[in-house]
Amino acid sequence: MSNPEVPIVKLPEDPEQRAWLYRPSSIRKLWIGLYVLLGLTVVAQFGVHVHDHFGVDGWFAFSAAYGFLSCVSMVLFAKGLGYLIKRPDDYYEPKDESESGEGAADV
């Protein structure tokens, strides 16, 4: 299924000569754009009245803070769990016969 004839290009030495998305100057612009968007979504809450379902969720910018904090905690939790459950990606590959099938044998 693979296509061994994938064209591979050489990248210019100067990062500012690369595709627009990879130039440090445009990455800076993208960050500024993101901050502006984030600011707008929060400011927009002055324009609409957010009804609360359960009290706290009616607070100003609750969704913004809740979205950010829950994502940060999920990433941190995943990172911590990763130390416990991550294995090399050939972990389940069948081992050579010489290794007598000890350990990560496969069905």
Binding site: L34, L38, V48, Y66, G67, V75, A78, Y92, G101
Partner: protein, 561 residues
């Protein structure tokens, strides 16, 4: 055209057979027409039980239709069509045939009027989905297919035990809401949940789906879990235990997807996450929640199909499947990148995409029922979906570092399939009533309020901020993550090896014991009983006469007293 209710599933089965038999030139026509005819037949079905047949002394109901069943049946026919179009010329003919037979099983389950019919089509799906996994063609796909088949055949047996219990104890094979108050119904529930990838059976999905071919995975992502959601809606609506099962799946999907490096396995974990949302909806069980589960199943099939197609296109064009090898592909595959990104936004319930219209129903149902913690958890999970699928998938595949690969967009039929579904995501998102009107209950919900838009944009965009702030922590590694399947892929084998060693020890011990105590006894027995032994000699008839005389004398002597 169909005066009598011809089971729509049989049309797809016939199509699968014809794909196998037709000459190559005719195949694309059959592939594209069969699902359309199936969908047409589905929409000709009036409500109610339409076709019965005697089977093993029971009157089974091959076709029973209502709004919910028609919605799922249409969705499955649509998925067969898109899978067929996507793999029209690139997929092997037997893969398409197996995919269509698999779809036939799902359509059959959608219209099954009784538990026996449900079970038969259920097993039909298990068989042909295994073939689709095997069509991945690699040794890894072969092994994953065996594990997949074992899991689903076991699930089928569990389901059968439950169904037989229900049949014997209630005398009814009707598909109706079952109360979870006895062994039989619990076993039915467990059998159905195996196919939904509920814990502790969640590992099979992320194990098998990413091993399919770029085309087979589109079929795999469409049928098994969604037909299981339909079965849960029909059999166990409003069972509170489903809320907790669904909630586990929601967060399991997010966490495992965050750790994953294989692009299609990220999407597979995200399927568990999305099915979790649906199962929470079934568990809440109000009309709003069931509408939400049905709508989300429909919307999810479209955007997950789209995501799997964009990942399949990348795999087909580059031969690479790991995030660590990919990146920067938007430059040479703009259509695939755009469609994949639309699918990613839709799965994240971004406003003006289909996910926003469907998932909001489930969240609203939780709020309406004053399920405070459920609502908070679902909202956190919605943010997490944007994190693990909405940004992570397109970011690592199409953007991030430049992999320097410049493969072109795939062939026209693959592009057409992706564009079709990307458009569907946006059209349903902008005009949710197109979907709402086909839901099982009337919908009185307006997703597009200023309030909802502001809170949703805040939630998602700040999740996006979290992604890019935490990016250094999410550096991709060449790893997999252990799961419940570790118990049967490693632990069980180690235990078996241990037991075999213990057995060998026991045998050795028994042999030693035998040599010391048993063997001398056996030797004496041999000496006495084998030919030439004392007790095995032939004696002359005369000696018998002598003994008879001796006994006679004793009897006479004793008898005189």
């Amino acid at each position: 055209m169909f005066e009598m209710a011809f089971p729509p599933a049989f049309i797809l089965m016939l199509g699968a057979l014809l794909i196998a038999l037709a000459r190559p030139g005719m195949r694309p026509v059959i592939v594209l027409l069969t699902p359309i005819v199936t969908a047409y037949a589905i929409w000709q079905l009036p409500d109610g039980v339409l076709m019965t047949a005697p089977f093993l002394g029971y009157q089974i109901e091959l076709v029973e239709a209502n709004d919910l069943r028609r919605l799922f049946g249409t969705m499955f026919a649509m998925m067969a069509f898109i899978g067929g179009l996507f793999g029209l010329k690139q997929a092997k003919w037997y893969e398409l045939a197996a995919g269509y037979a698999y779809a036939a099983g799902a359509v059959g389950v959608s219209f099954a009027g009784d538990l026996i019919t449900l079970f038969l089509f259920w097993e039909f799906m298990a068989l042909f989905s295994t073939v689709v996994v095997w069509c991945g063609g690699t040794p890894a796909a072969k092994r994953a297919g065996v594990r997949y088949a074992l899991m689903h055949l076991t699930g089928g047996i569990i389901l059968k035990i439950g169904i037989e219990g229900v049949m014997i104890h209630t005398g009814s094979i009707e598909i109706q809401a079952l109360a979870l108050n006895n062994f039989d119904t619990w076993v039915v529930l467990i059998g159905v949940l195996v196919n939904a990838a509920a814990p502790p059976f969640c590992a099979w999905l992320a194990d098998a789906y990413p091993e399919g071919s770029p085309f087979g995975t589109v079929f795999l992502a469409a049928f098994t879990t969604k037909s299981s959601v339909l079965a849960l809606m029909l059999l166990f609506p409003g069972e509170p235990v489903l809320i907790w099962i669904g909630m586990y799946m929601v967060f399991y999907g997010i966490i495992w997807a965050l750790l994953e490096n294989d692009m299609r396995r990220i999407l597979a974990y995200s399927s568990v996450n999305q099915v979790g949302f649906m199962i929470v909806g079934v568990g809440i069980g109000t009309q709003m929640a069931l509408n939400g589960a049905a709508a989300h199943a429909f919307a999810h099939n479209i955007f997950k199909g789209l995501l799997m197609m964009s990942a399949g296109a990348v795999l087909y064009q580059t031969g690479k499947r790991k995030c660590t090898d990919l990146g920067g592909l938007y430059q040479s595959m703009p259509i695939t990148a755009l469609c994949g990104t639309i699918g990613a936004l839709a799965i994240s319930a971004f406003p003006f995409t289909s996910g926003f219209a469907s998932k909001s129903l489930i969240n609203q149902a939780a709020a309406d029922q004053h399920l405070i913690w459920i609502w908070y958890a679902l909202t956190a999970a919605s943010a997490g979906v944007f994190l693990h699928a909405g940004i992570k998938f397109p970011w690592y595949v199409f953007f991030q570092k430049d992999s320097r690969m410049r493969p072109p967009d795939p062939a026209w039929n693959m592009r057409a399939a992706m564009i079709l579904f990307a458009s569907a995501c946006i059209v349903i998102g902008c005009f949710p009533n197109l979907l709402y009107q086909y839901l099982p209950y009337p919908v009185e919900y307006q997703p597009y309020t200023g309030e909802h838009l502001v809170t949703q944009f805040q939630l998602l965009l700040f999740s996006g901020l979290a992604f890019f702030v935490m990016l250094p922590l999410m550096k991709r590694t060449l790893t997999i993550s252990l799961d419940f399947d570790w118990f049967y892929r490693v632990l069980m084998i180690r235990v078996a090896q241990l037991l075999m060693r213990v057995w060998a020890q026991l045998v050795g011990l028994a042999e030693a014991l035998w040599a010391r105590t048993g063997a001398p006894v056996a030797q004496r027995m041999k000496d006495w009983h084998l030919p030439g032994g004392l007790l095995a000699q032939t004696w002359p008839t005369g000696s018998m006469t002598v003994w008879v005389v001796v006994i006679l004398v004793m009897v006479v002597v004793l008898g005189q007293r």
